[in-house]
Subunit: 276 residues, 2 copies
């Protein structure tokens, strides 16, 4: 697959807005900030959640959210995804009532929140995932990926206050998605993979967000064996990564990084003198 098949579009006027204010000296300034819009997701006739999103790729976000929350299974047939920009509504349609809808119907009387319910399911399925043990991450790829991703024109560079996730292969960033919600960015990648029939084999997942439990769970659900972040870790994120056999790399900045789980996949192919 080619580099940067999908990239952010910092020039898209629907994604950022110019606002005026003052700076620390009281002088007027103009700056760009990312948009943030409510998007309400339905699975057939069932209202699932209202997400705050930058608003691009609602089809990927909707499908990825349902997959990553285990509300849809990868083998569920999708009839279509309808998006109404004006209403801020996206509807994922399946030919038959999904397993999740059945479950929710039974559970609403005891639990008010669909997300709580789904979170339990996430952990139930977590242990069944077998991540590819033969996958590897060369340190030279990691250095190259960091540089390519951080210099790619993005909403982050234009407007800040946004998270990015990048699906990578060896030293090539393939699909780069951004969103004001860090979980939206990972969900958009999951949705894009499902819509385009791209599997997890040989993939590396890069995120600007922290390596919390939910980020690790989502990566494992997507069956991607290597997760890299320029941010830090939480203890439960590390513990879950170790349980799942996920390679977990954080604080990846410049030529530095820490690997706190799955170090057996890391190949030190750069000479020591290359490392600052």
């Amino acid at each position: 697959m080619d580099e940067f098949l999908v990239t952010p579009d910092p020039d898209d006027p629907r994604l950022t807005q110019s606002v005026t204010g003052i700076d620390e000296t009281g002088q007027p300034v103009e700056t760009r900030v990312p948009m943030e819009r409510p998007l309400t997701l339905y699975l057939n006739g069932q209202e699932i959640v209202t997400m705050m999103t930058i608003g691009d790729r609602p089809d990927c976000l909707a499908l990825g959210y349902l997959l990553n929350q285990a509300m849809l299974r990868p083998d569920d047939v999708i009839d279509g995804i309808d998006y109404d920009e004006e209403l801020g509504v996206v509807v994922v349609r399946t030919p038959v009532r999904t397993n999740f809808e059945e479950k929710l119907k039974k559970k609403t009387l005891t639990s008010g929140c669909a997300q709580g319910t789904a979170f339990g399911d996430l952990l139930d399925r977590f242990e069944a995932v077998k991540l590819d043990k033969s996958a590897e991450l060369r340190v030279s790829w990691l250095m190259s990926l960091s540089k390519k991703i951080n210099t790619q024109p993005s909403l982050y560079l234009t407007a800040g206050a946004i998270h990015g996730c990048v699906l990578c292969e060896e030293d090539r960033p393939l699909v780069y998605m951004e969103d004001v919600g860090r979980h939206n960015a990972i969900d958009k990648i999951a949705g894009w993979m499902a819509l385009n029939g791209v599997g997890p084999q040989g993939k590396i997942f890069y995120t600007t967000g922290r390596l919390t439990s939910e980020m690790v769970i989502k990566c494992v659900r997507m069956e991607i064996p290597i997760l890299v972040s320029r941010s830090g870790f939480t203890a439960w994120g590390v513990e879950l990564a170790r349980q799942a056999g996920l390679t977990l790399i954080g604080r990846a900045k410049g030529k530095r990084f820490l690997c706190l789980a799955g170090a057996e996949r890391v190949r030190f192919d750069t000479s020591d003198t290359d490392v600052e």
Copy 2:
């Protein structure tokens, strides 16, 4: 009120964990990472949500969450808050069934998610809040607050991957709370204020997190007229702040900042030569 009445405790062994891994040269390293635990919140007999939290001050978090989500009203009487550390459960008890419980009972059949329901209510009440127009923010206070907060021993400095919120008055940080969830940190402050009978008069709210719609809505609900962040803005965050008459300051780093709403409260009391 005195400076730093409440501060993070980076030495509390329940809040961080030491983990081993390797660095970019393959050498073994040991580092500290913040804990992240599920905490399930009940309002009387109603399960509300499971939050991922660092785990300190569950009483403040529980009460603040319910207040900030408009599931409790400020005048609701609280019988008690029970926390079971082993089960990871916190229960807020009220003498009578709350307005929210009544509403949820009616709504569960049409909407699966309590949070979506509550979010609508948040915006309904938003317009009724009148923020104190006479409040002011001196630039000298802002410089002093940033310095004091950023040099205070914290989980952020010890373990990273955490957000902080600080309730301030003039140039004094009063209550500093941290959490792996940025909204948990603001909710803990709201809960602390309610439990200690501290009102919003003369207060300034500082956060390390981004100035998104939800952050602005929560600050307005808490009736604090000035919100400061070292992170950036979203467009809807700016728009809501302007609607509410909130002073919104972001990208506050060193001596620099941007004010994108409510600039009339800012007093430029430092001489120009002080500003780099």
